[in-house]
C-alpha cells in the first residue's frame, strides 16, 4: 500500500464521520429553534393540575368547580377567549351586557369543562412536541394515553406569551378547537334572535342554572361507563 493510499483510506472514514457530525449538529439548532421547551413544561404542569382537580374524589361539585375556576383564572386568557367567542358580535354588547357576559362566560366555561373533562380523570398526558407561532404564540402537542386501552387522544394547546409567562387561548381535542366550537354556537344564538345580545345572556344563564340544578353529571363518580 502506497503512503498516499494509506492516508486516503485512513482519512476517508474520518472525513465521512466529520461530515456526518457537522450535518447533524448543523440540523439540530434548526429544529430546536422552532420548538418551545418552556411552553411544553408549562402545559405539562398546568394539565397535571387540571387532571388532579378532575380526579380528586374528596371534592364535591362546587369545590371542584371553584378549584377549576381558579386554575383557569391564573392560566387562561379568559377575556380574550370571551371576546373571540363573540365573533362578529364583539361590538354588539353594551358595557353592562359586556361585563355580565364576561362573568357568565367564566362560569359557563367552568361548568362545561368540568363536565366534559370528567372523562379524563386519572389519565396521563404526555407532551409530544411544540412549535413557535410568530414571536408571541406557541402550539404544544400532547397525547392522552388511556389506561383502559382506549385509543389515545391527541390534544393541541394554543398558548400566548404574556409578561414572560404563558396564557392558554384554546385547546384542540382530536381536531376540534373548543373556542371555535363555542363561537359558532354563541354567534348562532345571537343570529337567530335578530342580533339581540340579551338572547345569548339568557341562554348562558339557562345553561348555568341547568348545571346547578343537577342536570349535568359533574362528578367523577358518574363517569364510570
Amino acid at each position: 500500500m502506497s503512503p498516499l493510499n494509506f492516508v486516503r483510506s485512513a482519512v476517508a472514514p474520518v472525513a465521512f464521520c466529520v461530515a456526518l457530525l457537522t450535518s447533524i449538529v448543523g440540523s439540530l439548532p434548526a429544529q430546536a429553534a422552532n420548538t418551545d421547551p418552556a411552553a411544553e413544561a408549562w402545559v405539562s404542569e398546568v394539565s397535571q393540575q387540571a387532571i388532579k382537580i378532575i380526579s380528586d374524589k374528596s371534592l364535591d361539585r362546587a369545590g371542584r368547580e371553584a378549584q377549576f375556576a381558579a386554575l383557569l383564572d391564573t392560566n387562561a386568557d379568559m377575556q380574550r377567549i370571551a371576546a373571540f367567542c363573540l365573533g362578529q358580535f364583539l361590538r354588539t354588547p353594551t358595557p353592562d351586557q359586556k361585563s355580565e357576559y364576561i362573568k357568565l362566560f367564566n362560569n359557563f366555561v367552568v361548568k362545561v369543562y368540568v363536565t366534559r373533562l370528567s372523562d379524563y380523570h386519572d389519565e396521563k398526558l404526555v407532551i409530544t412536541g411544540s412549535q413557535l407561532k410568530g414571536d408571541t404564540q406557541a402550539l404544544v402537542q400532547s397525547q392522552i394515553n388511556f389506561t383502559n386501552g382506549r385509543e389515545p387522544v391527541k390534544v393541541t394547546w394554543w398558548l400566548l406569551k404574556k409578561d414572560g409567562g404563558y396564557k392558554l387561548f384554546d385547546v384542540n381535542v382530536v381536531g376540534v378547537w373548543l373556542a371555535q366550537e363555542q363561537r359558532s354556537a354563541f354567534t348562532s344564538v345571537i343570529n337567530n334572535h335578530n342580533g339581540d345580545f340579551a338572547a345569548l345572556l339568557d341562554h348562558l344563564k339557562q345553561q348555568i342554572a341547568d348545571a346547578e340544578n343537577g342536570k349535568l353529571p359533574t362528578t367523577a363518580a358518574t363517569t364510570a361507563q
Binding site: 362545561v112 371555535q180 354567534t187 344564538v189 341562554h203 348562558l204
Partner: protein, 273 residues
C-alpha cells in the same frame, strides 16, 4: 342492482325533497349587505338553508330518542365489551376496500400499504376481521372516504346540509358517500339483492357507533347553548382534521393577536348605530 339503485334513488329523492322544501321554506335571513363583518360571518357559516337543516336535525333527534338511543343503550348494556369490539373490528374490516381505494386516489401510498396489510392480517389471523391484530403489529387504523379525496383535490365542501337518517352531508361529502358505494365490493356482491345484508350492515354500524358516543353526545347536548350549531362546528372541524390526516396546522388559525374588547379587531367592524 336494486341496492345501488335504491340508494341512489333514495339520495336523489332526498335531494329533490330538499330542493322543494328549500323553495317552500325559504332560506336563512340574508345579512345586511352594508355590514362587512356580518356578510363575512354569513359566508363562514355557509348554511343558507339553516331552517330546513334544523328541521331535519330535530327530526333525527326525535328518531334518535325513540329508536336509536334506546337500542344503542340496550346494546351497550347487554352485549359484553369483547363482543362489541368484535363487531366494530368486523365493520371496520369491511370498510377496508373503500379506504384502500381512497388512499390510492390521494396518492398516499404508505397509508394504502397500511390499509392493505390491515385487511390481509385481520381477515386471516384476525378471523374474518373479528379481531384487530394488525394495530399491534404497527398498522394502526385510519379512515378515508371519497369526500376526503375530493377535498384533497380542492373541492370545496359546499353549503351545510343535514339529512334525515344520514346526518351532516354537505354536497361534497354526499357525493363522496355515493361514489364510495361503488368502491365497495359488497355493493356488487349484493347487486341483485337480498337487501338484508347491506341494510343489516348499515343498522348494526349505526347502533355500534351510537353506543360508543352515548355519553359524549349527551354531554355535548347538555353543555351547548345551541346544539345544532355546535354539531355543525364539530362536524366541519372533525372533517377538516380527517382531511389533513390528523395534522393540526398552525397556518390556518385565526388571528387573535390584537383581539380583545377594547381594540378594533380588523374582522369585526362595529355596526353603524
Amino acid at each position: 342492482m336494486m341496492t345501488v339503485f335504491a340508494r341512489i334513488a333514495n339520495a336523489g329523492a332526498k335531494t329533490a325533497c330538499i330542493m322543494l322544501a328549500f323553495a317552500l321554506a325559504g332560506c336563512a335571513t340574508h345579512p345586511d349587505a352594508s355590514n362587512p363583518a356580518a356578510v363575512k360571518a354569513y359566508e363562514e357559516t355557509n348554511d343558507p338553508i339553516e331552517p330546513l337543516n334544523r328541521y331535519f336535525f330535530e327530526l333525527n333527534r326525535f328518531l334518535d330518542i325513540i329508536i336509536l338511543k334506546p337500542v344503542a343503550t340496550w346494546y351497550q348494556g347487554v352485549v359484553p365489551d369483547p363482543a362489541r369490539d368484535g363487531v366494530r373490528h368486523f365493520m371496520d374490516n369491511l370498510d377496508s376496500p373503500v379506504i384502500l381505494a381512497n388512499d390510492s386516489l390521494q396518492g398516499e401510498w404508505d397509508r394504502a400499504g397500511t390499509t392493505a396489510s390491515r385487511f390481509g392480517i385481520n381477515t386471516t389471523i384476525g378471523v374474518l376481521g373479528l379481531f384487530d391484530p394488525a394495530t399491534g403489529m404497527g398498522y394502526p387504523k385510519h379512515d378515508e372516504d371519497f369526500g376526503q379525496t375530493l377535498a384533497t383535490w380542492n373541492t370545496p365542501e359546499g353549503p351545510y346540509l343535514f339529512l334525515p337518517i344520514l346526518g351532516p352531508k354537505p354536497p361534497r361529502d354526499l357525493a363522496g358517500y355515493a361514489v364510495d358505494q361503488f368502491f365497495d365490493p359488497l355493493t356488487y356482491i349484493y347487486w341483485n339483492g337480498p337487501y338484508t345484508v347491506p341494510v343489516a350492515r348499515f343498522v348494526v354500524n349505526g347502533v355500534d357507533v351510537r353506543s360508543r358516543n352515548l355519553k359524549t353526545l349527551d354531554q355535548i347536548e347538555r353543555t351547548s347553548v345551541d346544539y345544532y350549531a355546535t354539531i355543525r362546528s364539530l362536524y366541519r372541524q372533525t372533517r377538516a382534521n380527517e382531511i389533513a390526516n390528523g395534522n393540526v396546522s398552525n397556518e390556518k388559525l385565526p388571528d387573535i393577536e390584537n383581539l380583545n374588547f377594547d381594540t378594533n379587531e380588523p374582522q369585526s367592524v362595529a355596526p353603524a348605530k
